[in-house]
């Protein structure tokens, strides 16, 4: 009986009490480290709701911006877009060339070369139309030439070199 009781005590101490104390110390250490991590993360993600609200606005604006670039991304649509403005301003297209290249990892560059014929006022209105604030077309080079400088309403030939930078989707 005595041996049985002593054996029970030894077994209880070695199998339950000693491991429990080891586990307790391990859990305590873990809780301290987790608490530190929790504090850091809590501070970082404290205003997640605010950021979520802001994100909705940003996403809406991004969607709007992406829509703006939808036309330049499609070559046919882009040419159609220019053609419409040229017709509105009574300009004759002599030449129109478009080429695309990647300017950087996340930026696409579209080069446009146009030769147009028309009156001075038409050229100026055309420039105003394509270089408005809504689109980000850059005019790299502009040349205006006339073959009949002495006439009252000379026909002018404009040579435009345009560039457009698009963020890659």
């Amino acid at each position: 009986m005595t041996i049985l009781l002593v054996a029970t005590m030894i077994l209880a101490i070695s199998n339950f009490i000693a491991p429990a104390y080891e586990a307790r110390s391990y859990y305590h250490d873990q809780i301290i480290s987790l608490e530190n991590q929790y504090q850091l993360l809590y501070r970082y993600s404290l205003h997640v709701d605010y950021h979520e609200t802001q994100l909705k606005q940003i996403e809406q604006q991004l969607e709007d911006l992406q829509q703006l670039y939808d036309i330049p991304r499609n070559s046919a649509a882009f040419q159609k877009h220019f053609g419409k403005i040229q017709r509105e301003n009574h300009l004759t297209v002599v030449a129109h060339q478009t080429s695309k290249e990647n300017a950087s990892r996340d930026l696409e560059k579209i080069n446009i070369r146009q030769t147009l014929e028309g009156k001075y006022s038409n050229h100026m209105n055309y420039l105003k139309a394509i270089l408005n604030d809504r689109n980000s077309i850059l005019l790299e080079r502009y040349a205006l030439d006339t073959s009949a400088p002495l006439s009252n309403e000379p026909k002018l030939t404009a040579d435009l070199q345009l560039t457009l930078f698009l963020p890659l989707k």
């Binding site: 009781l5 859990y27 994100l55 790299e140 040579d159």
Partner: protein, 426 residues
């Protein structure tokens, strides 16, 4: 139950106390007037209640007595002797009294009195009934009283036999010293006569037939009883303690070698084991609680990590948006506006001068002007330079156009005034 309390009156001797001897199934009582009577066990309670602290003398089977001659023993040696003699033979005895009577310098008479279970039950029963009494082991009391010489029962023949229900005590006085013989376990014989015959046969076998003063505590019908009543009265008194008598009493729990103490040791171990198990349960419960706390914290961190990942996503989307916006802003800031330059130039040029060709790239403008009048190139250059930027005249040559002599100027304007021709960067 405190059995020792029954011995507090060890040295009290009052002639008016009721004295009762319990032995076998017999109860023998001496009242106030030294009247001897016998009564049944059932009437004992009534007898005890009516008297003031009666004296009870217990013999077999309530008390088991053992007598032997030893050397003089110290108190510790008396205990050891008792344990060695009866270590496991009578383990359940709840009360033990060892009395040593000093016979001479070398010899002593040692009497062991062990309270039996029946005796303990009797005492417990009477205590429950709230009856107050003092009790003594009968055999030990008889021998001690005779040893002290307060009773002169040995004077006549020098030999005395006391017959009790289950035992016989024979005392002889030789050379002023007591010699005792004690026969126990006579309860197997059915009648008192059988017991007496058996005991005498045993004793006379070893010592021969001799004459004894007899004292019989037995059935009142026995002829000797009436004649010996006057002898009984002085014998049934508690012994007086003196230097020649040494007594050690022990109660059951102090008896280390008794079986119960071994059980108690296991009880202690059992309690310790129980405590260890409770400890194990409690510490494991505590650890489980801490683990729960840890898991809760982990879950919270997991949720926060999800928030954090979401915030990273939001940051990336915001970065993308900022890149978009900055591209647009940069493009707008780098735009050149030929129309604006040409409108300004229109204001500068005199009526006789008009533009034949115009080219603009970055902040460099090349102009080809035709002049049909005599406006003077220097004034024109000065005005363009002041309002548009650094102006250089590349060529100035006369040409004929449609039979009209005119002058052709080639002009280059560097570092165009940004306020005029570029959007502001901010």
């Amino acid at each position: 139950m405190n059995f020792i309390s029954g011995l507090t009156g060890y040295s009290i001797k009052s002639e008016h106390q009721t004295r009762i001897l319990l032995h076998g199934k017999l109860i023998y009582s001496i009242g106030h007037e030294q009247t001897v009577s016998e009564f049944s066990y059932e009437t004992l309670k009534k007898r005890l209640i009516g008297t003031r602290r009666p004296l009870l003398f217990l013999a077999s089977p309530y008390i088991h007595s053992y007598i032997h001659t030893t050397i003089q023993l110290s108190s510790r040696e008396m205990e050891t002797a008792d344990q060695q003699l009866f270590g496991f033979r009578n383990p359940a005895s709840p009360f033990i009294m060892v009395t040593s009577l000093k016979l001479n310098d070398k010899k002593a008479l040692t009497i062991h009195s062990h309270l039996s279970k029946i005796g303990a039950d009797l005492l417990a029963f009477k205590r429950r009934e709230k009856v107050s009494f003092i009790w003594h082991p009968a055999v030990s009391s008889f021998i001690t009283t005779l040893f002290q010489g307060s009773v002169d029962l040995l004077h006549e023949k020098g030999r005395l036999r006391i017959y009790l229900a289950n035992e016989l005590l024979q005392i002889e006085k030789q050379d002023n010293q007591l010699r005792c013989q004690h026969l126990n376990y006579l309860q197997n014989q059915k009648t008192f006569e059988d017991k007496k015959r058996t005991a005498e046969r045993i004793l006379e076998k070893s010592e021969g037939k001799q004459e004894y003063t007899t004292l019989i505590f037995a059935d009142a019908t026995t002829p000797d009883v009436e004649s010996s009543n006057h002898l009984v009265d002085p014998l049934l008194f508690p012994p007086v303690r003196n230097r020649q008598i040494k007594t050690v009493t022990r109660i059951q729990k102090k008896r280390s070698l008794a079986f119960r103490s071994i059980i108690k040791r296991n009880n202690l171990l059992g309690i310790a084991t129980f405590a260890v198990i409770v400890w194990a349960i409690l510490i494991n419960l505590h650890v489980s609680q801490i683990n729960q706390q840890r898991l809760t914290k982990k879950r919270s961190i997991h949720i926060l990590e999800q928030h954090s990942a979401r915030l990273d996503q939001i940051a990336e989307i915001r970065l993308k948006y900022i890149r978009f916006v900055s591209i647009r802003q940069t493009a707008n800031s780098l735009k050149i506006y030929p129309a604006r330059f040409l409108a300004r130039l229109d204001k500068i040029l005199p009526r006789s001068v008009w533009v034949r060709s115009f080219a603009i790239r970055d902040d460099l403008v090349t102009l080809e002007l035709l002049d049909s009048g005599k406006s003077g190139i220097s004034t024109l250059m000065d005005q363009i330079s002041r309002q548009c930027g650094e102006t250089n005249l590349k060529s100035n040559e006369p040409i004929t156009l449609e039979k009209t002599p005119i002058r052709k100027y080639a002009i280059e304007i560097k570092h165009l005034n940004s306020q005029t021709h570029y959007e502001k960067l901010d």
